[in-house]
């Protein structure tokens, strides 16, 4: 009975975190808060998996002579491994997101979504012609570069 209650409480907590994360991602206008919402959402899912592996009275999944090999004496290690992978992936996404935020802030000086959109809408969309800005093609281009435009 205690186990059941314990299970449910954690799941309720996970659902609350999911809702907070979703609210942050979709309703907040500040890009950093959106990102924080995304991280909360991810963390809630990690907790969900870890909770799924939990088992009252079970021990670490290393087979011990005296405990035998019955599955219910050990915690299921697979969700932990899955979440380890998901964490790494999550860190990768977070890194890319933070580098975008850095570029956005340097360019616009704000994190407010509406203001950035307004700033971008005010700028004309100018296509870049290959013939213009000849010098801007970069020092890493040698003369025979296949991407070099015709002269």
């Amino acid at each position: 009975m205690a186990e059941l209650l314990f299970d449910r409480t954690v799941y309720v907590g996970v659902m609350v975190l999911l809702a907070i994360g979703l609210y942050g991602m979709l309703a907040k206008r500040n890009l950093v808060k959106k990102l924080v919402g995304m991280v909360i959402f991810q963390t809630a899912i990690y907790l969900f998996f870890i909770q799924g592996a939990a088992q009252m009275g079970a021990t670490v999944p290393v087979i011990e002579e005296e405990l035998g090999t019955a599955a219910d004496t050990y915690v299921n290690p697979l969700p932990h491994l899955l979440i380890l992978t998901a964490l790494v992936v999550g860190v990768g996404v977070l890194g890319v997101a933070l580098s975008f935020l850095l570029r956005i802030y340097r360019r616009h000086g704000t994190f407010d979504e509406d203001e950035i959109a307004a700033q971008l809408a005010a700028e004309p969309i100018e296509g870049h012609r290959v013939d213009d800005h000849g010098a801007d093609h970069g020092a890493d281009h040698d003369a025979a570069d296949p991407e070099e435009p015709r002269s």
Binding site: F48, G92, V93, R129, D136, G138, P146, E147
Partner: protein, 491 residues
């Protein structure tokens, strides 16, 4: 031979690493490495398709551990068809000059080649994964590469990429949550094993919730209407070569995952819940066709019009999945290939126009056909195929979808497919009226010339591909897609 799936991934991951290392030294060397990587993967994909069609499915058990305990990579007819489409389009778009047609002056150095290789590797992983969690891992690998690729395109693209990152992560996380539900109920992650375990407990609410989460997550990644909100921005501000690759193959990987999960993990006859999920995908697809086409008609910006047209064309794929009968599925899978070829051709044409004239707006296109006849001819072929003019490729996918709808007795879908032809013609006629019937009005157009061979070659190959695929349609359907649908649908 069983190592083929792993070899495909290894080639792309290793060349991605090499291209990343040599890129800062010489862009040209990175380009050569990227061509070798994509070319090698394409050759392996061709070999894979031939072997799979003659000898049957290739299964690689990672580390020799048999599933369901071990991880497996599966190259079945559907997966090998998809690997061929992905690597083929990847190879062709790599030839297109990377610095062409940027929104602003392109950055001096950019890691475009390693990222494209990483994107292709992620897509192939999604296609070949035989296990729900590996599918998630590869979804994220290709997603990270995509965010970075879109972000290369300047200030607008960075903002669009950030918004896409939030939605894309939401999509993959919903998918992961759904997989968590399935794992905790069935105790397995292997697709075949999950399908077997589900037979006894199919009507439990947990399973229904799991599939709801998975379908919503993947529909978000696939940009199925109304979860397409990130796509128009991301695709219209990405560099043209990147946009071509994204519209052609990136969104299709999630569509593939949807086919896999709705038809082979949870076949419609197994789950009551999945029947509603499958038909919901079909109805949202149908709504997406109408919405995307109407929005495309309203756009001034050519690339943005193409992006909305992608939303509409993805609707066709959703509609075909929703029909879940042989003709509908054939149409959807044929449309994956057809749309990949014609939409990448059109994005590369948009890139050529931008590189030559710097113009994005359709009303300023007047007279382009006089100055760039070959490019515009290829564009016209691709557009004709998009509308569905026989004998181009696009006609056949619509034909099979129509046949499938009639077979299913779904007359609403029949009407929508017919009407979509008119709507699609609506937005392309607007473009080609400017391009073909008027004299050059702007100086930039009047001085434009046909672009260099490296611009023209990929466009020409894709333009010719539209006609070749259209004419060779029966060979593709009977040779490749019949085994695919036979494996997916119970007879």
């Amino acid at each position: 031979m069983t190592a083929l799936p792993l070899l495909l991934l290894a080639v792309l991951f290793i060349t991605a690493a090499i291209a990343g290392i040599v890129g800062p030294w010489r862009q040209q060397a990175a380009f050569a490495v990227a061509l070798a990587g994509a070319g090698g993967a394409f050759a392996l994909a061709v070999a894979g398709l031939v072997v799979v069609l003659t000898d049957g499915t290739i299964i690689h058990e990672l580390g020799g551990w048999p599933p369901p305990i071990g991880i497996e990579y599966v190259l079945d007819p559907l997966a090998s068809y998809m690997t061929l489409v992905i690597t083929g389009i990847g190879l062709i778009t790599l030839i297109f000059p990377t610095r062409a047609g940027f929104d602003a002056t392109p950055p001096r150095r950019m890691p475009l080649y390693p990222l494209v290789l990483l994107l292709l590797a992620g897509l192939l992983g999604v296609v070949m994964a035989g296990d729900l969690f590996n599918l998630f891992g590869f979804l994220e690998i290709y997603a990270i590469a995509t965010y970075a690729l879109i972000g290369l395109g300047g200030a607008r693209a960075t903002f669009a990429a950030f918004r896409y990152l939030i939605f894309g992560t939401l999509g993959s996380m919903l998918y992961l949550l759904g997989v968590g539900f399935l794992y905790l109920t069935t105790g397995s992650l292997n697709m075949t094993d999950v399908a077997a375990q589900l037979t006894g407990i199919a009507d439990s609410p947990t399973v229904a919730a799991a599939f709801a989460l998975i379908v919503i997550g993947l529909a978000l990644k696939m940009a199925l209407f109304p979860l397409h909100v990130w796509l128009p921005e991301a695709h219209s501000f990405a560099p043209p070569a990147v946009a071509a690759l994204l519209a052609a193959v990136q969104v299709k990987a999630a569509a593939y995952a949807l086919v896999r999960i709705l038809l082979s993990v949870a076949p419609p006859e197994l789950l009551d819940g999945a029947v509603t999920a499958t038909s919901a995908v079909g109805w949202f697809g149908a709504a997406g066709i109408v919405f995307g086409s109407v929005m495309a008609i309203l756009q001034r910006d050519f690339k943005r019009m193409l992006a909305y047209s992608t939303v509409a064309q993805l609707g066709f794929i959703g509609l075909g999945i929703g029909l879940a009968n042989e003709q509908g599925l054939t149409g959807a899978l044929l449309h994956v290939l057809n749309h990949a070829v014609m939409k990448s051709a059109l994005f590369l044409v948009a890139g050529s126009i931008l590189a030559q004239t710097g113009i994005r707006e359709i009303p300023r296109f007047a007279g382009l056909a006089r100055r760039m006849p070959l490019t515009m001819f290829a564009a016209a072929l691709a557009a004709a195929s998009m509308v569905g003019v026989p004998p181009t490729a696009g006609f056949w996918s619509k034909f099979y979808l129509l046949w499938g709808s009639v077979e299913a007795g779904n007359w609403a879908f029949v009407v929508i497919i017919m009407a979509s032809t008119l709507l699609t013609a609506g937005y392309f006629v607007r473009v080609f009226q400017q391009v073909m019937t008027f004299d050059p009005a702007e100086e930039a157009v009047a001085n434009a010339v046909e672009p260099a061979p490296q611009y023209l070659a990929p466009v020409a190959v894709l333009g010719a591909g539209v006609v070749v695929i259209g004419l060779g349609n029966f060979a593709i359907v009977s040779g490749v897609l019949e085994p695919v649908t036979a494996a997916l649908l119970p007879l």
